[in-house]
């Protein structure tokens, strides 16, 4: 008996050793040129090679050992999975059920919590206010913009099942319409916010018309092309958009006419508060929170209306949808327009927040990131998408803060550089680990007697 076990373990060891060696050899092949050599310019602008065999060895060894460890522990992990599977299958916990409510409560109190914590740790209110700037702006507002964009794109991709790779174009339309109309005509934020939404929705319809006949990936490439066209026009139509220089000095938003300026008519002076830039950030935080919640609310309400049902039907089966008498043309167009409108809102908010827009902010990568949030969040699940956005944006923002790594790897080490590399790798790892996204089940919008949550495995997304 013991003999059999030991031979089994030996065979596992031999297999693991072999696979480790293969992985090492593979890594050697993959990395021998790009890691083994580094190309640098010398003074005459010629490339010279620097050899880095040490680094290459580390890469190869890491790959070999990782593969060895994975194969060697595989039987043990199988075993554990078997015992674990029995325990699962229970009702979702109370925390999970009330998660949206807790989350909302946290979101509404977030700026004050940050200020409170920082005031206590700094010992002064002023210190707390100034210190909270970074957390409210970089984390709060930044994440919420992406949450809103992802929820907007969710209407197109998650509900109507139309794969849109150029969503950032509508974001750009919103941002530039605010930037241009406010700098040239001096319109206020509150007038331009709905206008930006309308402009973006119009562009959504303009894009929607020609691509209505296209399906699946043809639609994807045309939306991608559209996004690039908008960006290229923004770069090259220098008379209006000032090209790559961008438009700066965009007016800030006001609270019903009260500006957030240090002067005597400003917000701080009117309320008798100490001067600080943080009020504007907190105001922006609540503004984008409300805009994002508006998106969520509209999505939830629309799902119960005929048009929302039509979107979901379209996603599941276009032919069945058409044979049941749904006008697919208007259904697709409204999905495009609604999604685009929220992109436009987010865009005008973005312009008001930055005070500066340039085509740099509207590259394809942004569309890809937003789409990744929708898919990683579980296509159609608002909570999942919000979590995905928070993890992805919050995570990459956190990487900016990794100053302590400098102490480990020396001063030449810049964590900034590795931000996007890790971001890309994380996208792959999360997708392979949870292909259905963070929230893999879908709440049906129409049901008989009892609402049963459907596992993501049984739902299919649309053709395009």
């Amino acid at each position: 008996m013991a003999d059999i076990q030991s031979t089994e373990r030996d065979s596992v060891f031999a297999k693991a050793l072999k696979e480790g060696l293969v992985a090492g050899a593979l890594a050697l092949g993959l990395f021998c040129l790009v890691v083994g050599f580094r190309t640098d310019q010398n003074i005459r602008n010629e490339l010279i090679l620097t050899q880095r065999w040490g680094l290459l060895t580390i890469f190869v060894l890491v790959a070999a050992f990782a593969r060895f460890a994975i194969t060697y522990t595989a039987p043990w992990r199988e075993e554990r999975k078997k015992t674990k599977r029995v325990v699962e299958a229970k009702e979702p916990s109370a925390f999970r059920k009330s998660f949206p409510k807790i989350g909302l409560g946290l979101l509404f109190t977030y700026p004050f919590l940050v200020i409170l914590i920082l005031t206590i740790s700094n010992g002064s209110i002023m210190g707390g206010l100034q210190g909270s700037l970074k957390y409210v702006d970089n984390f709060g507002i930044q994440i919420l913009i992406y949450v809103m964009l992802a929820w907007g794109l969710n209407i197109v991709v998650g509900l109507a099942g139309l794969l849109d790779l150029g969503y950032v174009a509508f974001y750009a339309v919103g941002a530039y319409s605010y930037a241009l109309l406010s700098t040239h005509f001096g319109f206020s934020f509150w007038l331009l916010l709905p206008m930006a939404g309308i402009f973006a929705a119009t562009w959504g319809v303009i894009l929607g018309f020609p691509v209505l006949r296209l399906r699946g990936d043809y639609l994807a490439i045309v939306t991608l092309a559209f996004g690039e066209i908008i960006r290229l026009i923004l770069i090259n139509w220098t008379v209006v958009t000032k090209g790559t220089f961008g438009i700066s000095g965009i007016a800030k938003a006001t609270l019903f006419g009260i500006p957030f300026t240090p002067g005597p008519t400003g917000f701080a002076a009117l309320l008798g508060l100490p001067n600080s830039g943080v009020y504007y950030k907190i105001f922006l935080y609540y503004l984008i929170l409300l805009l994002a919640l508006l998106t969520a609310w509209v999505t939830i309400r629309l799902r119960r209306m005929p048009i929302g049902r039509a979107w979901e039907a379209l996603r599941e089966d276009e032919i069945a949808c058409r044979s049941l008498g749904i006008n697919t043309t208007t259904t697709k167009l409204t999905a495009f327009a609604t999604g685009a409108m929220f992109g436009g809102f987010a865009g005008s908010f973005f312009a008001a927040r930055q005070g500066f827009v340039s085509p740099e902010s509207f590259v394809f990568l942004e569309s890809a990131i937003i789409l990744a949030m929708v898919v990683l969040g579980g296509m159609g699940s608002l909570v999942g998408i919000a979590i995905a956005a928070a993890v992805m944006i919050g995570g990459t923002e956190l990487l900016r803060e990794l100053e302590f790594l400098k102490r480990i790897f020396g001063n030449d080490f810049t964590p900034e550089l590795y931000r996007m590399l890790l971001f890309g790798l994380a996208m792959i790892v999360v997708m392979v680990w949870k292909p259905r996204g963070f929230v893999g089940s879908r709440e049906p919008s129409a049901f008989l007697h009892k609402r049963k949550s459907v596992s993501g495995e049984f739902t299919k997304e649309g053709h395009g």
Binding site: L26, V34, I221, A225, F226, A368, M379, I428, E461
Partner: protein, 302 residues
């Protein structure tokens, strides 16, 4: 007229490179129905490999004949880029086979971000210029049309590769397996085709052609940077869609067309808007021919 012919030659050169990349897109799409977004970055990686091989040759050996250098660059880049593509497919795409359609698209986008940033981290963010490899050209007798030798190299290499590739797909067992997987993966598996292996080979072949395209790109422009994967990648994908995605001749035709449109538009209208022209023509063609120029119309059974 001479100007037109000259610009067309430039367009065909550019189009050959797009065509070579587009084949990778269209083959992968044909066989597993997935947009391999990382393919543009695989192309960029191929160009980097070629650049490093070239530098290694000049540093360690010294003066190597240009033909030999080019050949070595191409072969090494092909092999290593093929290896990369195999690994990528194995790690990022295969676990998601049979999952829903958007999942591999997202890993492909992640892979594209990771690859370009990996090259940035390991090789530095600056442009990498190399000295011109092929100089000079010939003037067509009695006209002002010149054809640079490097353009001739591109067109000849592309033609040879396409011929070899055509033979591989149409006349060999591997090609037959590939075509059968494209038609019906389940049925092919039942008839004894190793589907996983065929898909892997497809990825490797696409990457090899992209590596050659990368080498040619490097030779033609003499410079490469880590961001250079995106725009040629998107153009090549546009070419694949324009020609009818899934169709191999379509990819080549689409590539040549996109190259021609770009060159002629830059010559006669505005160079700033050449990409806008290429993308707009794609949209217009798709409105009238929803499945591309040489693509089969999609028939759906209910």
């Amino acid at each position: 007229m001479e100007y037109f012919i000259q610009q067309s030659i430039n367009g065909l050169t550019l189009g050959s490179i797009y065509g070579l990349i587009a084949i990778g897109y269209t083959m992968v799409y044909g066989i597993i129905g997935m947009i391999n977004f990382a393919h543009g970055d695989v192309f960029m990686l191929g160009a980097f490999m070629a650049m490093i091989v070239f530098l290694a040759l000049t540093t360690f050996i010294g003066g190597v004949p240009v033909v030999l250098a080019l050949l070595l660059m191409m072969i090494v880049a092909m092999l290593l880029t093929g290896l990369w593509s195999w690994t990528i497919e194995r790690l990022a795409y295969r676990p998601l086979r049979g999952s829903f359609r958007l999942a591999p698209l997202i890993t492909a986008i992640g892979m594209s971000i990771a690859l370009s940033n990996f090259v940035q981290v390991t090789q530095g963010p600056r442009n990498k210029p190399i000295p011109p490899l092929v100089n000079g050209g010939i003037t067509v007798y009695g006209t002002n049309i010149t054809i640079a030798y490097k353009q001739m190299v591109i067109i000849i290499v592309t033609a040879i590769l396409l011929a070899a590739f055509w033979y591989l797909v149409n006349k060999t067992t591997l090609g037959r397996a590939q075509r059968s997987c494209e038609q019906d993966r389940k049925m092919a598996a039942l008839l004894g085709v190793d589907v996983d292996r065929t898909i892997s080979t497809t990825f490797v072949m696409g990457a090899m052609l992209a590596a050659v395209a990368g080498t040619l790109y490097l030779m033609f422009y003499g410079v490469i940077s880590f961001t250079d994967g995106f725009v040629p990648g998107v153009k090549a994908f546009t070419a694949a869609v324009l020609g009818g995605i899934g169709s191999l001749p379509g990819a080549v035709v689409g590539g040549l067309l996109i190259g021609l449109i770009e060159a002629l538009w830059s010559a006669y209208f505005s160079i700033d808007y050449k990409d806008v022209a290429a993308f707009s023509i794609l949209a217009i063609v798709l409105i009238f021919l929803p499945s591309g120029i040489l693509g089969r119309p999609e028939v759906e059974k209910v």
